[in-house]
Point group: C2
Chain length 360, copies 2
Amino acid sequence: MGLMDEIELRLLPEDDRKPVPKPENLGFGIHFTDHMFVMDYEEEKGWYDPRIVPYGNFSLDPAAVCLHYGQAIFEGLKAHRGEDGKIRLFRPYENMKRLNRSAHRMCMPSVDEEFLLNAIKQLVKVEERWVPANKGTSLYIRPFMIATEAYLGVRPAKKYILSVILCPVGAYYSEGFNPVKIFVTDKYVRAAKGGVGEAKTAGNYAASLMASEEAKAKGFTQVLWLDAKERRYVEEVGTMNIFFAFEDEIVTPALSGSILPGITRDSVLRLGKKWGLNMVERPITIDEVIEGAQSGALTECFGTGTAAVISPVGSLHYKGIDYVINNGVTGPLSKRLFDEITGLQYGEIEDALGWIETVI
Amino acid sequence: MGLMDEIELRLLPEDDRKPVPKPENLGFGIHFTDHMFVMDYEEEKGWYDPRIVPYGNFSLDPAAVCLHYGQAIFEGLKAHRGEDGKIRLFRPYENMKRLNRSAHRMCMPSVDEEFLLNAIKQLVKVEERWVPANKGTSLYIRPFMIATEAYLGVRPAKKYILSVILCPVGAYYSEGFNPVKIFVTDKYVRAAKGGVGEAKTAGNYAASLMASEEAKAKGFTQVLWLDAKERRYVEEVGTMNIFFAFEDEIVTPALSGSILPGITRDSVLRLGKKWGLNMVERPITIDEVIEGAQSGALTECFGTGTAAVISPVGSLHYKGIDYVINNGVTGPLSKRLFDEITGLQYGEIEDALGWIETVI
Ligand SMILES: Cc1ncc(COP(=O)(O)O)c(C=O)c1O
Ligand SMILES: Cc1ncc(COP(=O)(O)O)c(C=O)c1O
């Protein structure tokens, strides 16, 4: 890491700041706050000029590597305001670490995790009034790094920007904390072992668009991906990892290299173990899942991710047939996990595991 | 397609134009010309405001979809100046068609192929003095489309920019038209069937960086990719398709969905057939290639792509062993194809197949 200067603050006059949207009109990823964090990187200098400045457009060379070759990564985490007025982050170090793992995989420079987390905290403090208070709402934090060098050869860029933008958000799915209908695709593939599926890199999301558009057109909320090799093993869902609760074990696909190592996934595994449940990371085939849904051995299925926390899956559509899970209603484990994690996030449950970082 | 207006011309005063670099200092993708083509897209309006303007930075919202989710595609073609002073494009319609196929796969809007090709011709005319005259040099043309809507939900964007930038280029590989050393990776995977490997989309290139960096560090020019499923079938090389000449057939991997359908590849197939050669598109395993290299049945191997045209492969490195092909020298078929295609491009050979579009 290069030398890190103090973060420069260049704030908007109070009068020029935007009105904060009403909690019921938040949506997801639409409204951005008044300021953002930015710093620059050059191969010879390392990271420099960290600053909190008014939210505004980047000026990018049309030949910037990120626009042509997709050398771009991001993270996603949230700040929650509790009833006590305090603002809390949930396991933010894990996001910093994953950002650096993504950076490594995509041949991008690493950042000082402590420094970046501090910058995020400072930015959230500056934007305090943007952190909504209603339960279920939060301030979504989007750190991202893009390659900015103007060069059309295919090689890692020598210049980057790291930025953090913020948006107040409501529920991610219009379903809220209600079961979603998932389409299992055996036509499209998201990522293969040996590829970049475990990195939170831009191209993985563009690669998912057609499958999810097709699924949405058929009335489904999201796509469940199968493995690239055999199209048999379950991978993950859209922007969530996935869990299957059977009578004697709660299974999630093992981290094989092609799925994102979700922080919510990890939290669910840890909480489940703490509660004495048999949490298992292993390969699981779609056939086993479907059999379980048919026999009733599969008692619950849910997705995990920062955006929706826990998203119960009411049905899986596979090869033309709908398989209903737990009668299409939210099961007790999904509910317990959702309550526990959101309880921690909003400061209603004691933070026994040291997962919470208080901002203010 | 929406209504297409006339292209607006906003040109730099002569005095503000840059000096053109010397032919020997061109490199690849470093120097950009004075002007670029740009047009905008909005869901309700279609494409609008086509314009040729001074080359300059884009102003992009930090939440622009292309920066987070990699919804971005591009093309690459070249303008060549012949000894007769004329400037020619090589099969440019194929690039327009492939751009639209990439757009479709990435859920992006299509463009009017005729219109875009005309815009490119107009831009090349404006930048005429930038088209270098020495054989082996050319003006590289980079059309690209990026998603610009400021929105952090994962779905296709509603706003795009399409732009064309130009750069005078020399040889793509420092080797020039000399055999390159290729590293066969069985560790990394570029794309899987069901994925986006056949689209010319940004993320595919970011996904290739680590493998090619590791190969370069070991002294190789590029990586040869194997298929995601079995890591046995040959796919393509860096930014080239690949051909294997055996005594009785000249083989290139069939278009399986995971490799880019190269225009040079198609040209080589057509030329070979015209010459009475047995050109075959089929799956080919790395074992067959290695056996051929060992027995001598594999007489030549070469890559094909716009950047290098034909790039003879002198050796393949697989599982720790170097397999030399044709004693590491350029073979007669590589040479003949290179001479034919560059001859057509520079207007030295009669254009019997209707592949050439003259700009001026
Ligand atoms: C592809 C993908 N899988 C899973 C997840 C869940 O990860 P996390 O729990 O860290 O939010 C995400 C992101 O949020 C994702 O983008
Ligand atoms: C991945 C890839 N394969 C193959 C090619 C060759 O295609 P073309 O002959 O159209 O240049 C390219 C691009 O130039 C490429 O990027």
